[in-house]
Symmetry: C2
Subunit: 420 residues, 2 copies
């Protein structure tokens, strides 16, 4: 099995001002062709360190992929370090990348400056894969390490890295024998990691030695279960995993909302689209997060009509038509208000389904009955109005995420119940 | 200067299913007391690898902070590896943490299982810092490396790691001499990294040798400039940075929206709160992202009344009161529709200010005049209605982010213009 390591370069990573998302993208991309990522390292914009760390990684890996340090500004010195590492001090202008530099700056209405042009200058020791979304090309240095290791130096901007990854993967396939690895994902929601682990403990013990199970909790998606097999034939692997997943469905079926890497909003979207139904939302404490999640799904305009974020009580009354008495009698955060909000936005927009939230995200707010961290979710459907309550104990940002995810899960459950 | 490295542990990181946010949080926290993070490493749930990598890091750093691998499920084997690394195979029950385990599970209405109880069992060789938000305690192993290095083993859940960081920082201060480091941040929006770099090139060349400048672009915040001094006296550092920042304001003042680490929505919130004004939003292509960003600011309910996400044309007409003729004549994505949406939501909610967006986030959509990636931003104020157009060329998710940030920046500019 091919071994790879990932090296992200930049002071901004080391001081924690930027979160590294490139390592995860790269790992997913190379993992799909069976390359095993053995480690990820983040190092500063330091010439000596770049050279020594990359050398160490090249000595024990077939492939090293670096990102960052290739920007036009003065704190980026990776390119010179790579030239030295590969034994050259000569550079050439890559005309293909230079054309892209011109095109990109023109489309932004900007002049091409010398520092932009320099982006297309690369060490003589490397080949180039074009960066179609940015100015710095991907540099490929071959024959390093013990003689057969390759270094791919990619730009640090995640949007550019992601776009260039298919070309890097293609290049790896063209130069190394790659094999297949089988991963299967199952999305669960509504059970904490430890409760889930207890429920499936016997099943987990029954897994063949080659099958690896991982629990991957995510506040917006629930707990993802991932089954992996690294060795054996593709067909055998598939059939083992399929039968194990069938067993698992029997144990925790109610909590599984998808049998692939998925999101709650994605699963909701597929059902609505298939059944030709529409959706709207009324958000208080989630402040737009539900609408935002729903509309990140491409094609969501086919089923999502719109939403009202009713932060002020007056908006709940005047726009959503929540009766003032309901709020007075039961409180803003209550089952009754959540239901009235859902019904209100369903009527306002003419949608088939509607979801609403009202709660206390904190800091502060809440009372004994509905303390800080409480959300009431309302669901209005052609068959009635329903509500459910959830309690969390997180900070504001995390509570908002959990509230939104709980609302989407409640909606998804209701859709399945009414439509299946 | 104290040196530290960060080691995140977990197969889920290596296969790219989870993005490591802990390293950045830890780095920011220890950086504030002058600890220099020399590297960040992510490694698999592999006993031998955990031991060898941590040993290597402890040999060249004063402090090593690990996260992850401490969950109750069967794929976590870090604790055993740490026991071995620190030369013991004996464990003790930490009663303080056990009490927290009971409390947390009770508050969630869950039974305390054996695997939960085991979370409070730790190797005899370590001291414990309590994890108040989760079940796995922070384990502190002293006297490692060359004899004076400390290993802090923290849980992997970011919410728990962040909450425990102040205690880890306090422990470092109690056991090592720590010094101060001066960072200053400047938030800019509206200039790309390379254009910004050209504009301030002479100024950058004039910086003293000890002052380090970094460009930190973020799609939601613009380009952050960070000035750092690692050595010298606190007073001298402060006065050097202050005078350099004053010079910079003279050069790019129009693009600077804050002189601290800030967000557009934070800066907007402060102005509205100070002037006792209210805000609403009407979103089409941004689908709730603007409302979401505004409401992530604690206390935003003081000025944010609410918003309408009008994904469907009918909602634009019926809820926001955009005239059907406006949409027919000028199109859904147009200056006129953006203005009518902003005016409409301002009227509907009775807010002082309103911001709107209508555009094509992609994939698909758009025309020659307003291609995919175009957004029109509308701003309605007590003094009139204004619009501005922005064009980007990203994927859907990134476009939505850029659109929302552009809308917030346009609003912020207008607020400053009308209120200063």
């Amino acid at each position: 099995m091919l071994k790879a390591s990932i090296c992200t370069i930049g002071d901004e990573l080391l001081i924690g001002q930027v979160i590294d998302t490139n390592s995860a993208s790269i790992s997913r991309a190379v993992g799909a062709i069976g390359v095993k990522v053995t480690g990820m390292v983040s190092i500063p914009d330091d010439r000596d360190r770049i050279i020594s760390d990359l050398k160490a990684q090249l000595a024990v890996n077939d492939i090293v992929i670096s990102t960052g340090g290739l920007g036009p500004t003065k704190d980026d010195i990776t390119k010179q370090a790579l030239a030295e590492l590969s034994g050259t001090d000569k550079y050439y202008m890559h005309e293909g990348q230079l054309a892209i530099v011109h095109e990109i700056l023109k489309s932004r209405g900007l002049d091409v400056l010398d520092i932009n042009r320099q982006q297309a200058m690369v060490p003589e020791s490397c080949e180039v894969l074009l960066n179609k979304r940015g100015t710095a090309p991907i540099m490929v240095f071959r024959g390093l390490g013990k003689g057969n290791s390759t270094l791919y130096a990619m730009p640090g901007v995640p949007f550019e890295t992601e776009a260039a990854l298919p070309d890097v993967v293609e290049d790896i396939r063209a130069h190394y024998p790659t094999d297949n690895i089988t991963h299967r994902n199952l999305m669960t929601y509504g059970l904490a990691e430890s409760a889930l682990a207890k429920k499936i403990s016997d099943w987990e013990d029954s897994l063949p030695k080659d099958v690896h199970l991982a629990y991957l909790p995510d506040p917006l998606k629930g707990v993802r279960l991932r089954l992996s097999i690294y060795s054996g034939s593709k067909e055998v692997e598939k059939s083992i995993i399929d039968s194990k997943i069938a067993e698992l469905s029997g144990i925790i079926g109610d909590y599984i909302y998808s049998y692939e890497d998925d999101t709650l909003e994605g699963a909701i979207g597929r059902i609505l689209k298939e059944k030709n139904l529409t959706l709207s939302a009324a958000e208080s404490c989630t402040g737009g997060e539900i609408a935002h999640l729903i509309t990140t799904v491409p094609g969501s305009s086919a089923y999502f009509l719109g939403s009202v974020t009713s932060y002020a009580v007056k908006i709940k009354e005047n726009v959503l038509g929540v009766p003032a008495e309901t709020i007075e009698k039961h409180g803003v955060v209550s089952s009754e208000t959540a239901c009235a909000m859902a019904s209100g936005v369903r009527k306002l927009t003419g949608s088939d389904y509607a979801v609403s939230t009202t709660g206390y995200a904190g800091p502060g707010g809440g009372n004994e009955k509905n303390p800080e961290g409480t959300v009431w979710v309302g669901i209005a459907t052609p068959n009635g109005v329903f509500s459910e309550k959830f309690c969390y104990k997180n900070d504001r940002r995390r509570n908002i995420q959990r509230f939104a995810a709980s609302a989407l899960f409640t909606l998804l459950k209701r859709l399945k119940q009414e439509l299946n």
